[in-house]
Symmetry: C2
Subunit: 90 residues, 2 copies
């Protein structure tokens, strides 16, 4: 029996075929997911927001709170006026 890097060729082929089968299944599931989003879009839902909701559903409440707090802190930091040089002098 022929070999590839010391691996019998049927063993080598089996590895490749198993990966290919899994990739095919993943592709099909991704297409099914795309279909659901198209359907939701047809219902008038905003797909971008829907994806965000699904992501949020995966986080627990603590993670969500921390995320919210950090967003808030960073947004405030952008909005905050930089201290004027005179203010530092006063």
């Amino acid at each position: 029996m022929s070999e590839t890097a010391g691996i019998p060729s049927n063993r080598f082929r089996s590895i490749i075929e198993r990966v290919e089968k899994l990739e095919e299944e993943i592709k099909e599931l991704n297409e099914a997911k795309k279909e659901i989003f198209l359907e939701a879009k047809g219902d008038g839902l905003d797909v971008k927001i829907l994806k965000e909701i699904i992501k949020l559903c995966k986080q627990d409440q603590d993670e969500r709170d921390e995320h919210e707090t950090l967003l808030d802190v960073y947004l405030r930091a952008i909005d905050a006026p930089t201290p004027a040089p005179s203010a530092q002098a006063a």
Copy 2:
């Protein structure tokens, strides 16, 4: 029944649950794929090369030939000495 953007909440929940179920299945398949690569690595195969082989198997012969030709042309372009100014004058 409550609504979200004019969509009944059970319909909205069904969309989210279907996507979550698909994502769970995709995650499991990706883990199975990772397992196969670990197994292959255990057999002494180079996983990076194996992934390249799987990618090549998906292409047809024409695509592979074109890819090879372009790689060759570009590599030669890098190796080729830039024409000296005197050569242009001659």
